[in-house]
Amino acid sequence: MSTRLAQGGRRIDRRKSVEFRFNGKRLKGYEGDTLASALLANDQMMVGRSFKYHRPRGIVASGAEEPNALFNTGEGATFEPNQRATTTEIFAGLEAKSQNHWPSLEFDIGAVNAKLSRFLPAGFYYKTFMFPRFAWKHLYEPFIRQSAGLGRAPEAEDRDGDTYEHFYGFFDVVVIGGGVAGLQAAKAAGEAGAKVLVMEQTAQWGGRAAVDGGEVDGAPVADYIAATVAALEAMENVTLRRRMMGAGVYDHGYLLAYERLRDHCPDEAGPRHRLWRIRAGRIVTATGAIERPLSFAGNDIPGVMLASAVRDYIVDYGVSPGDRVVVVTNNDDAYRTAIAVKEAGLSVPVIVDARVGGGGALADQARALGIRVETGKGIAKVHGTKRVEGVAICAQAGEGAVLDEVGCDVVAMSGGWSPVVHLWSHCGGKLNWDEAQACFRPDGNRPPTDQDGEGFVLPAGAANGELGLGAGLTDADAAGKRAADETGHKPGRGKAPVAADVDEAALEPVWLMPQGAGAKLRMKAWLDYQNDVKVSDVQLAAREGYESVEHTKRYTTLGMATDQGKLSNINGLAILSDALGQPIPQTGTTTFRPPYTPISMGAIAGEARAEIFQPLRRTPMHDWHEANGAHWEPVGQWRRPYCYPKTGESHAAAVAREVMATRESLGLLDASTLGKLIVKGPDAGRFLDMLYTNMMSTLKPGKCRYGLMCSENGFLIDDGVVARLDDDTFLCHTTTGGAERIHAHMEEWLQTEWWDWKVYVANVTEQYAQIAVVGPNARKVLEKLSEDDLSAEGFPFMAWKDVTLNRIKTRVYRISFSGELSYEISVPASEGRALWNMLLEAGDEYGATPYGTEALHVMRAEKGFIMIGDETDGTVIPQDLGLHWAISKKKEDFLGKRAQERSHMTDPKRWKLVGLETVDGSVIPDGAYAVADGTNANGQRNVQGRVTSTYFSPTLGRGIAMGLVLNGPDRMGEVISFPGTDGKTYDAKIVDPVFYDKDGEKQNV
């Protein structure tokens, strides 16, 4: 029975009872309890089923390293899987459910896997599910997906009900870990004047020092903690944060920290988690150490716990994990657990010490308390299934012959301590193997280095392998001072606090218990609880040739999943080393990757969700479009109206209506998104001659010219109309998606190649709202609003002019992308809406019809105008599109010129642009390929062309398309076939790409 003790529990407040639910049962705990301590207080020893064999599992640890006690918490909008009970603080109304079992925790069908365990060894999936091949997709994978995983995924329709945010922090020194080492390091750095952040992942300062006891400067360590926290709080340059974890260390002192603000008080307003994105001069990792389990048969039965966790539950939470606690150890530290159990009034039937020589002073103290100590012994086997009933004791040196049987409820095990080196290692800090303590610890000579080549992470205290209280404080004090010094501060000369370390006998590495355990015992000796990996699995992997620890990890799944092997890694690689007959440092560790423990997806996303998931760019007329039923099309980050369907009208019908209204009378287009770049300077003409394929320097002020832009590799990257504003100044229109890209392109050439040319570029895209007034009645509307000369002679095609329209000063470009009489009118954005309203009103008598991007596309296709992104895809050159007329032959050079002379670019077999007219008037599917005779080397049908644009033309009442076709321009009139994915084949005649008004009579009026 585990239960709440009558006294004790420094973290809980017994006056404040908290009710929560576990698997639907109402349970009670106290404020300050973790879900783990509260479950133990309610005798809930079994908390889940294991991943693979569905074995009953209990709470093993008391902190972030817990592998077993993972729960689904919350419901609906607050649901979250895989929450660790040991780091989940309880609150009123907490709802927790155990995972990985069906139909219930107590009775689970999947447990049959355990009976089959000899048929489920390491690599089982790889070996078994290889053949037959088709079965993987249809049989094996669905089955494995069903049975795999711990927590369940949230329901697809549920939305996270909480909010999250990021915060950018800047500090000289960031200390990760608020145990005694972290507090001392922060104090040393803070006293030197550094700007310090110290964070602690739990709700309490001091780490486990208060549980382990000892004296600092002659007073109890708890007093030291309280005094140091108070001193830090009094320093203006020090920030203290609890419930905040150092998640990852990255290049250049970049650090991610995960702050859990509302997990323990979900009803309060505010973000649930905050992800801190920190720039730190120096990072001190005072992350402590994690106790290792021992590998003996039955070490996964609920009630087998880490020795340190047993005393944590007693001292921190006033919870007894069981009345009779057998301690099994290879070091002195676990004796502290025996003493704590005894002092709590509970029983320690025996301490099983694997070392023949036994322990030091702490062992003497335990014996003085009347505890039986057996040295040179180990545990042969743990009895029990859903909870521990007793242990069989054997000689550690032997093969497991039972010498004694001892009844007990808890087995407290300790295999020694591993420094938490994760954050040191994230960015490349190297480790040394410490033979004496049997652990990896940071090698101070090989730290992760920053932009100056200097080490920027300083390990401190237990995380640096200094496990004793006194040694840890001294080390941390030095780390804090060094961090301050290296960030330009002057550390004081004060001495580190003094704490006497208890004289402990040396640890003896024990990787298997007993050392000669036979196959049967090894198959029950768990290394990795979360992934159900046993000693026998790692040994099998070694026998099968897995020598690299990284390969063994993937083959056996040792050290994977949510705990990333915090308990299992060292034990696993020790077993692997032994099986390979090589020393542990030669095997090495797997890579430590961020985050230290899992962080929420919400915290990673931060504010980027719902309406601010991505920026959405709006034109000055956006609200009007929205109010008038626009169906939107995303164009880059802009939203442009695709069409404006009327009530009951289909999109296709709306597009047809918009096209016809424009062709017959008057259409209005919001063209504000078009890129507008001002290019100015004495060398502007020369610069544009290099950027465009055609000549721009000869353009006269007041005139416009269409131009093509290619990359230096010759491929078309953008097009648009250039207007010359004065001798020195050009306005270059780009495509909507090209504004920022082409601006950057221009700046790059100016800054890197032609830095001595006198040219400045400015992106004024958003300064102007631009409205296209299009159709046979376009001039009439403008003439209604203006006194200026807008006649065909006074304002010809491809000219621009400043025009006052009913007191609004505008600039009008007489250019056309539709083939109609067309004016693009530009005004400052703040007047865009006013102009739009004015044009709608003035055009009303002509049935002014706003049209969207699809009508624009249809009309330009009817005219055979190309569209960047349709006719081009990054592999197309202007010559492919029959645009020779826009490529200057006079110019000595322009970007792309030499590339276009390469043999492949001049290959007559390059597919060329043609028009395509379906024989039956239907519309060819977008992206369809024209087939040719025969098949290629892959057995696919040969192709001879593809469709680049395809529409139903309301003007012509038939399907029209453009496409790139082999020898296309020489094959006019020939019919080629485009098989669709709908089973039909579309036969189309090769024609001229200009379908409508070939002579341009409509636009030139």
Partner: protein, 189 residues
């Protein structure tokens, strides 16, 4: 005059900081040799403030000059005076190689004020907004979440944010989210 509209027509939100769209402002991009006396005279003449140093801004009322890059300044005047200011500067810079262009309407402007304003901005911009890291007279061009933004202080606990007009709603929504009740960071206030 016709009706001129700022992107959000003065939208306002009060949370742990107050966010207000500040309406239309006259803003002129000037590119040129910032060490050139003609350039200096042209911009200071229009703005009525001294030339700022690197990453600095000088303002008096609605007028000011902000350093944007080694060859770019932002000159600020009342919105209605921007066109005239462009002409004045162009006239002063005749013959010099410089670019003067009105970008007033390409921008949206927000004021973020209150004791938690530093924290609100610190959630969205990778900038040290501590009192030591950022104070009056400084300007930062950076990003706000996923869009470019510039920021400076107009008084104690008062910041002015400038972004592109097309993303005004996005920026306002970002600031609203960052200023939500209960989201104090407790670092700068």
């Amino acid at each position: 005059m016709s009706e001129t509209l700022s992107a959000l027509k003065g939208a306002r939100f009060a949370g742990i900081a107050v966010v207000t769209e500040a309406g239309l402002r006259g803003m002129i991009t000037v590119r040129g040799d910032l060490a050139d006396t003609d350039v200096k005279n042209a911009v200071t003449g229009v703005a009525g403030v001294d030339m700022p140093g690197q990453r600095e801004i000088n303002t008096v009322g609605e007028r000011g000059i902000a350093w944007m890059s080694p060859d770019e300044l932002l000159v600020m005047v009342p919105h209605g005076e921007a066109e005239q200011a462009v002409e004045t500067m162009n006239a002063a810079l005749t013959g010099a190689h410089a670019l003067v262009v009105n970008v007033s309407d390409a921008r949206a402007v927000f004021d973020v004020t209150g004791p938690h304003a530093r924290e609100v901005l610190g959630k969205l911009m990778p900038v040290d907004f501590s009192a030591v890291g950022f104070g009056p007279g400084m300007i930062r061009r950076s990003r706000m979440a996923q869009v470019p933004a510039a920021v400076w202080m107009t008084g104690e606990d008062a910041f002015r944010v400038v972004c592109f007009r097309s993303v005004a709603q996005y920026v306002f929504d970002l600031l609203k989210a960052a200023a939500a009740e209960g989201s104090e960071v407790g670092l700068y206030a």
